[in-house]
């Protein structure tokens, strides 16, 4: 009886461990101003997903007619213990790479300098504003990719 109990407990622990390791939906958390539709325009690795939140997504037009994008990202690692942990793991400040891909009305990606990974530095609790301008006035879609920068 005792062996059966141990076996069941072991299986339950294993299942919990497996569930913990599983990658959930790969989206960032968003502020109150950010819609689910906007969050779908972000892709991120699991590191950035846990450390950054999208606070706002603003669009406007340049005088030339091209779409201009501004994304506010906030570092969610702040407070005494998270900052101690970030310092211990060498993640204070936290380095990320980001890029913005632009798409034409047919959904085809348009080559742009913003399609290369760029580095941004976040201090605990800091909000950074990433900006990008569409390569031409026909572009109407975008995708923001984020990943932790490896040293």
């Amino acid at each position: 009886m005792r062996r059966l109990f141990l076996l069941a407990a072991g299986a339950a622990a294993l299942a919990m461990l497996a569930a913990g390791c599983q990658n959930t939906v790969n989206t960032l958390s968003g502020g109150p101003e950010v819609s689910q539709l906007d969050l779908q325009r972000f892709s991120s690795d699991s590191f950035c997903r846990d450390r950054l939140a999208v606070m706002s997504v603003h669009r406007s037009r340049t005088e030339g007619g091209a779409m201009k994008l501004q994304v506010a990202l906030r570092s969610e690692r702040y407070g005494f213990f998270p900052e101690i942990w970030s310092w211990f793991t060498g993640e204070n400040p936290y380095y990320i790479n980001y890029r913005v891909d632009w798409f034409d009305p047919d959904g085809m990606k348009v080559a742009s300098p913003s399609s290369n990974w760029m580095t941004e530095i976040f201090y605990p609790g800091e909000t950074r504003y990433l900006q990008s301008v569409a390569p031409n006035s026909k572009c109407c879609g975008f995708m923001v990719s984020l990943k932790e920068k490896n040293d």
Binding site: T62, G64, N116, M118, D151
Partner: protein
């Protein structure tokens, strides 16, 4: 005894050679924006060129400076990028990206008839030198007075300032760009991208 010593020395030498060979990494292609790319303190790395180009292009396209009041599409010439650093630089890495971005944006056209270095196509002038060459059908030779002169000039400067403190080196780079209205000589857009890099050298190399 001597033979044993020789044997041990030989074995150590062989192991050292193997270890040295094991440290080598085979040549491979890494992405232009890869995290594995070398980062130097005193040099301008690919990531720095990317940042300088991307931020300057974004600022230029968002500024509306290329817009003309008469509704015509302006023509931009790529002028000199002055190098105020301590090293040899190929500024074309920067201007090439900006040229492409301006053309792609549809906000302006870029002149290849005038400019500096790789931004000028000598064929524009050379083909007109064939107007007396009987080898060519003269009706197909480009006529003089057809090349469109630019309205704007894009110029810039790359500046470096280096500081040392102990084994720590710090380099401060400024990528300054300006768009000048050639009719008035006034700057209609300017932007500077700043990059600060720091590194500490090991005590022993």
């Amino acid at each position: 005894m001597k033979r044993v010593l020789y044997g041990i020395t030989g074995l150590c030498f062989l192991l050292l050679l193997l270890a040295a060979g094991g440290c080598a990494s085979p040549a491979r292609i890494i992405g232009i924006d890869s995290d594995e790319a070398l980062v130097t303190v005193s040099g301008i790395d690919p990531a720095d060129w990317q940042r300088a180009a991307e931020e300057n292009i974004r600022s230029l396209l968002a500024s509306g400076a290329l817009r003309r009041t008469d509704g015509q599409q302006p023509v931009v010439m790529i002028s000199r990028i002055r190098n105020y650093t301590m090293m040899h630089l190929e500024s074309q890495i920067l201007t090439d990206k900006i040229r492409r971005a301006i053309l792609q944006s549809g906000q302006a056209k870029v002149s290849s008839a005038v400019g500096v270095g790789g931004n000028i196509d000598l064929a524009v002038r050379r083909i007109r030198a064939k107007e007396l060459d009987d080898l060519f059908d003269q009706s197909t030779v480009q006529k003089r007075g057809t090349v469109i002169a630019p309205n704007f000039s894009l110029s810039g400067a790359i500046t470096q300032q280096t500081a040392y403190q102990g084994r720590t080196e710090e380099s401060y780079f400024l990528f300054h760009m300006a768009l000048t209205d050639l009719a008035t000589g006034l700057a209609v857009w300017e932007n500077t991208v700043e990059i600060l890099k720091q590194g500490t050298y090991p005590l022993f190399y």
